[in-house]
């Protein structure tokens, strides 16, 4: 068992983090929300210069790790770019959908996008029908329609779900860091709020949610790389991603109090910008149902594996 990340992938994560920080970090995200054209003028060239387009996660473990950690670094500042869609299927960005979507984030930035329908398994062109329409919980949504049917890209669905989990992991790591830092800085009743048991309880739960997602994301990525990842594994990760993010966002707000609700605070930006990711193609209940269905069909690998339902009944 080797749980260490490849050095090259860690170096890539660092370079992405440093580059985004140099452009303002979450401040750049705010600026892009106010003026969506700054995605093309500032983020586009940056993403290209970092070399995100130079590797394919299907080309081996180091490339897969670099894609995952690069997405995590971008997620730390909820970078407004369709990075997950591009990394999951280089050359033909993919969007996971459950029916014909009304809007798709950043669709105006990519050419040749494909919508993968997780209900019927079909793949169709996804075409923008207008510019970005800013909404609080969907800041970069673009009106869209489905086009002609096309061939589905290989491994793209599991790849998308895994890479997206790393993007969300980056975002919630930022939120956890902000909440724990604030807990030692903020005094109430003449002492830091971190000295109150109720606050410590929330800090512990923040840590647990972050660790759960970090561990499961790394494990699922390794299964993706060695070719053993199933859709049950992917839905398992997505369910953990949603549950961890919901817990971290709620607990971070609670630790931060009213200041955390202000637009000037980074947690608010992270919270609003994550909501679309947590609900597309569907949210917690439907993800759980999809997981249960795939466990029945494929089984689930544990120390004592769960066999596919048909096989165990036979």
């Amino acid at each position: 068992m080797n749980r260490e990340w490849p050095a090259d992938a860690l170096a890539f994560e660092e370079s992405v983090t440093a580059a985004l920080r140099a452009r303002g970090g979450i401040e750049l995200t705010r600026a892009c929300e106010a003026d969506p054209s700054r995605r093309q003028s500032e983020l586009g060239p940056l993403v290209a210069s970092l070399g995100f387009g130079d590797f394919d996660f299907r080309d081996g473990e180091v490339e897969a790790a670099a894609a995952a950690l690069g997405a995590k670094a971008a997620g730390r500042v909820v970078a407004p770019w369709p990075l997950v869609a591009q990394l999951a299927a280089p050359g033909a960005p993919i969007y996971l959908v459950a029916a014909a979507p009304r809007r798709a984030p950043h669709l105006d930035l990519v050419a040749g996008a494909i919508a993968v329908d997780l209900v019927d398994g079909s793949c169709r062109r996804l075409e923008a029908t207008g510019p970005v329409e800013r909404m609080p919980l969907d800041p970069f949504g673009v009106p869209c329609r489905l086009g002609e049917e096309v061939e589905c890209p290989v491994d793209a669905v599991t790849g998308h779900i895994v890479i997206e989990a790393f993007w969300v992991l980056g975002a919630i790591e930022t939120a956890v860091g902000l909440a724990s830092a604030y807990s030692v800085e903020r005094s109430q009743f003449d002492r830091p709020i971190s000295s109150f048991g109720a606050v410590q309880w929330r800090l512990a739960d923040l840590s647990g949610a972050r660790s759960s997602l970090a561990e499961l994301a790394a494990y699922t990525l390794s299964r993706l790389v060695d070719g053993t990842a199933t859709m049950a594994d992917a839905w398992a990760l997505r369910l953990t991603m949603i549950e961890s993010a919901e817990q971290v966002l709620a607990d971070s707000h609670q630790v931060l109090g009213a200041i955390g609700l202000c637009e000037e605070h980074d947690v608010t930006v992270i919270d609003r910008h994550l909501q679309g990711t947590l609900r597309r193609p569907f949210g917690r209940a439907a993800t759980n149902a999809a997981l249960a269905e795939r466990v029945a069909a494929e089984g689930f690998d544990l120390l004592y594996p769960v066999e596919p339902r048909a096989a165990s009944a036979a």
Binding site: M1, R3, L303, Y304
Partner: protein, 389 residues
């Protein structure tokens, strides 16, 4: 980019070990064996036989260093052993404590005479130990212990006080006992560990009836019990160092998640297959817990790996918290799936009446060996320390 693989595969040696252990369990454990606790002295006899079999196969002390008769097993072999044992009702019975932390503590802090007196006996499965830590007024706050040890002469001490919640006390030959030898300084100073035989005059064990079953919980009274200088483990007044070492081993030493995984696997065949809303809800709840079980195991693996590389703040406590909460959720779901039949402990009960015992025992998961509140405090303190740097 150069290849440097991350892998969660624990390797061929570990896979072979699991198969060997499962074969031995199939061959040697009687049907319906639910552990030494549940089956009382009869269960302990099964455990004694199983320990001898493990010793014959050089597996009983595989985690120990070769110089003390062990096999220098890798941390992942040790992990596999703990998982297989815990998933099958810990068939080593009370021996697991001796193997997991009493022996290693004696190796780390013991004198040559103590090592000679105790290690071989533990390795052969000949001695059962109990842990004399908790007291009526000092539960989670171990350092507040009051059991007194007073020096009465050259090389001699008298122990007076009470321990409580002491598992296996009625079966044990030895007690790993913490006592207060100095009250003048901070509460972490002045604690000393004694290795005391349970048949010494003045030691009385009283079983506490509980929902957990026999032998789980006991009170142990020490009435002017004589102990010698030679029975002190580690340095006088510096027993807190020993306790911290023990707790680190104990918290990570129990692979509760493996038991949860096995129950979930067995439950899969008993889930309803129809399309009633409640059937959908049970299948969804089961699937969700499969994920939580996998995640809890991975968090434990992270904590185990970090003990050999860089430490992660609150890592052991985080893993333990996830594991113990899982234990309770799995037990609750199991009763939900089995319904009324899950309440019974007779021959007709499903899954050999395991579930009613698992549910009762799960009540203690977030209490024993450090409550979930204490685990959360430890995690938060690590985060606060990191944020304060």
């Amino acid at each position: 980019m150069t290849a440097q693989p991350m892998t969660f595969d624990d390797g061929e040696a570990v896979r072979d070990l699991r198969l060997q252990l499962r074969r031995m369990i199939d061959e040697d454990l009687p049907a319906g064996f639910h552990g030494a606790f549940v089956s009382g002295r009869a269960g302990q006899e099964v455990a004694d036989r199983f320990c001898r079999r493990l010793a014959e196969e050089n597996l009983l002390t595989m985690s120990w260093p070769r110089e003390f008769g062990g096999a220098d097993a890798s941390i992942w072999e040790q992990t596999a052993l703990r998982e297989e044992m815990w998933a099958h009702h810990e068939p080593r019975g009370a021996q697991y404590m001796g193997l997991n932390w009493v022996g290693p503590s004696i190796m780390r802090f013991g004198t040559p005479a103590q090592r000679e007196a105790h290690l071989a006996a533990i390795a052969n499965g000949d001695s059962v130990w109990c842990q004399g830590f908790s007291e009526p007024e000092a539960g989670s706050d171990l350092a507040s212990l009051r059991l007194r040890a007073e020096r009465t002469g050259e090389g001699e001490w008298r122990l007076s006080g009470q321990k409580i919640w002491t598992s296996y006390a009625g079966l044990a030959q030895w007690c790993f006992l913490t006592a207060r030898t100095d009250s003048s300084g901070s509460k972490h100073h002045g604690i000393t560990v004694f290795l005391v035989p349970m048949d010494r005059e003045g030691v009385t064990v009283r079983e506490i009836d509980s929902m957990l079953g026999p032998h789980h919980l006991n009170e142990v009274f020490f009435d002017e019990v004589v102990a010698t200088e030679a029975e002190i483990l580690g340095e006088l007044d510096h027993g807190w160092d020993v306790i911290r070492y023990v707790l680190a081993h104990e918290r990570i030493g129990i692979a509760r998640y493996a038991r949860s995984e096995r129950i979930l696997s067995l439950l899969a065949d008993r889930l309803p297959g129809d399309d009633r809303p409640e059937a959908d809800a049970l299948r969804a709840a089961h699937a969700r817990l499969l994920v939580k079980a996998r995640t809890a195991r991975l968090m434990n693996y992270r904590a185990i790996a970090s003990s050999t590389t860089a430490e992660i703040p609150g890592g052991v406590s985080g893993a333990r918290l996830a594991t113990t909460l899982l234990d309770q959720e799995v037990a609750a779901l199991a009763l939900e799936v089995l319904g009324e039949e899950g309440l019974y402990d007779d021959d007709l009960a499903p899954l050999a009446a395991w579930i009613e015992e698992a549910w009762r025992y799960a009540r203690s998961a977030t209490i024993a060996s450090g409550t979930s509140e204490v685990q959360r405090l430890l995690i938060a303190r690590a985060m606060i320390a990191e944020a304060s740097r």
